[in-house]
Symmetry: C4
Subunit: 225 residues, 4 copies
């Protein structure tokens, strides 16, 4: 797998194949670990919840938490998949480290989602649970943004045919997404349900397929094959 693309300094350009595999691995593990938060009942649990049928209904927030985490991590995976397919064409040592920072925020999501699932039903803990959840949902955006700013600068790691305006528009979208969720964090201290509404809108927006890349010239499309 000789994947050196260009080597003129201490930070040579590399193919993204191994970085993509590593990223996929972390995503696959983070998303599958979620089921460990849906607890197998102990015999004692069944007495307080009215039998096994009762327990299985009683833990519905755990199912919801599992469902939400899966969607959120899955959406981030799908977006990274899209970025590596259409936008990012090379990597280097610095970008590898920035991707690690991003993966660190992805692997953190199960923690905050579990807290949401466990405490959303308790009025005294609701706002804290929603704050934690909004922070966990927001964190991957600034780390994506830092990586994008680094990769997009002078088309450093991106498809050279992509138009500058398109890349700038992507950056703007990350900035708006981050602001949107920071508003949700701010509101969560007093209006947790409003924050959850913002989160919900965000998830739905993410479900929309991403933008069609715009190239300097349509003839350039596919030139890096």
């Amino acid at each position: 797998m000789a994947s050196i693309l260009k080597m003129e300094n201490r930070n040579p350009l590399l193919k993204t194949d191994r970085l993509e595999m590593f990223t996929d691995g972390v995503f696959a593990i983070a998303i599958t670990l979620l089921i460990l938060e849906v607890k197998i009942p102990k015999h004692a649990d069944l007495e307080t919840t009215g039998g096994l049928y009762g327990y299985l209904l009683y833990i519905w927030p755990a199912y919801l938490s599992y469902f939400i985490s899966f969607i959120v991590i899955g959406i981030y995976w799908s977006n990274i998949h899209w970025l590596f397919t259409f936008i990012i064409k090379k990597t280097n040592h610095v970008f590898n480290l920035l991707c690690l920072l991003f993966l660190m925020t992805i692997a953190f999501i199960p923690f905050t989602t579990a807290i949401l699932g466990d405490y959303i039903l308790y009025p005294e803990y609701r706002s804290a649970a929603v704050t934690a959840y909004c922070i966990g949902f927001m964190l991957p955006i600034p780390t994506t943004l830092i990586g994008a700013l680094y990769a997009f600068r002078n088309h450093r790691l991106v498809d050279p045919a992509l138009s500058r305006a398109f890349l700038n528009k992507l950056i703007l979208k990350f900035v708006f997404g981050m602001i949107f969720l920071m508003v949700a964090i701010g509101l969560s201290f007093s209006y947790p349900w409003v924050s959850l509404g913002i989160v919900f809108v965000n998830v739905v927006l993410y479900l929309i397929p991403p933008d069609v890349p715009v190239y300097y010239s349509e003839a350039a499309l596919g030139s890096d094959q």
Copy 2:
């Protein structure tokens, strides 16, 4: 890994390689996490079960649960492997999301199987344990069905040489499989052993190698190599 196949709108066609790798990752993790449910004994456990030999025999339902989960998840893996080899040739943003929905139901299986293993021996919890197990076993079928309906429509993501009749037959099989298991769920409230029998028949049916794909014309076979 430039894997764009066709890009004419917001939902461009992509190669399935990264989706397959992600899917394999989730399956590999889900199947390996099963061993965490076979508990290492604590010293106190050994006193109530007559020593370590006694404990190792006493937890036989945990072994059985491990064995069943492994087979069930393995069979679903084998079938998805088959679908991506013979049927599904492309993916897009929407299909990626539908696959996530499917993986969500796969990663859920260890939970319901652990419940079966822990409670099948207790008459008062047996029917609930079997209901949970049947639901967990059934859930991947509707999510597969949704994905298949989306992918098969107008040969959207499938090998264009596959005959329409063959694709319809596959859809029908998913529908029958789902009905079969919904009957098992319905019966489990009163006749858990009958439901388990239906499940057993299902597992055996799944062990049979899948159908030979049928093409519009045999000459078309291999055209996408």
Copy 3:
């Protein structure tokens, strides 16, 4: 990834790439989960073991258990790697299922090794711990043997240039390995240390690089590149 090699019946021949990736995934997860058995101390633990330094020394059997499991699973991985490189060239539905059976026995090893690490120092539980460990170490051999018998029959899935005598020798080695470890299981009830000695010899034997494949004719070598 069209990986169909030959399709004439319900059990068509497939490339081994995805099976290898799935196998590698299960091995990687099983081997990494081992560290979860080396427990982070709680504050209460430190009082009974004379502080944190004391605790870190006190749990040496957990380190040993981690070390052994890693070597054993790693050796099996290395051997499977060798089998897929030199011997097995194709797969099919049946062989996929047999591989699942094998992976089931691999993912079981952490359980029995943890029991060895936890109970080897207690004379009253030592023989049971060694019995469990020997069974866990032995189980992948019969599952490998079943897979090999299926794959080797009439060179069904193996490199057609491999000599029949070489394949038969491999089968014999699996049989002898299994008998060797069944003797260890039998002795473990009364002579656990002797059984551990047999296990140790086995591990050392496995560290030796595997046999050089023997071909019908040296000219055939590399023909499937």
Copy 4:
């Protein structure tokens, strides 16, 4: 995936693709398991920490521990990635086993980092926590060194165009890194903060992109493409 490069004895040369995938898998799992150490609070925990907001602030050492582990494992991954891209071009049975030894030390890091995060704030346990952490951080270096000595000897597994002087410089760097951290281990018994300072310097040094490979002749560059 016929990946035999040369086969003249019991220890034939192989391509590194599957070894790299296995390595990436272990790294991805080890790094993602870290989040399991950031504990979801139980209701009882919230009473002693002044509610959920209080708990989420109170566990800051767990976040720090998560952050440090992620960076450290990530840096080792990035370095191995670099080694397999520029230096190591082949593998064999012996090198596979040496890589397993290395992976064993990587998968151990979460354990020692969790101990650091849990006990750094307790003066009576601080030096033991730092000792454990320094050992965990150091262990992958000798295992890398052993692998490098084996692979570099007579350019056994490395790019034949690499200059001997460059390889010797790499070995020296590993030796110095190990000595550096052994000093940190020695100091940790009495001066834990000094040891942590050495560790911090090490992490920063590792963030610098690795050396540009030096070849016997620049014309040789890229000859193995």
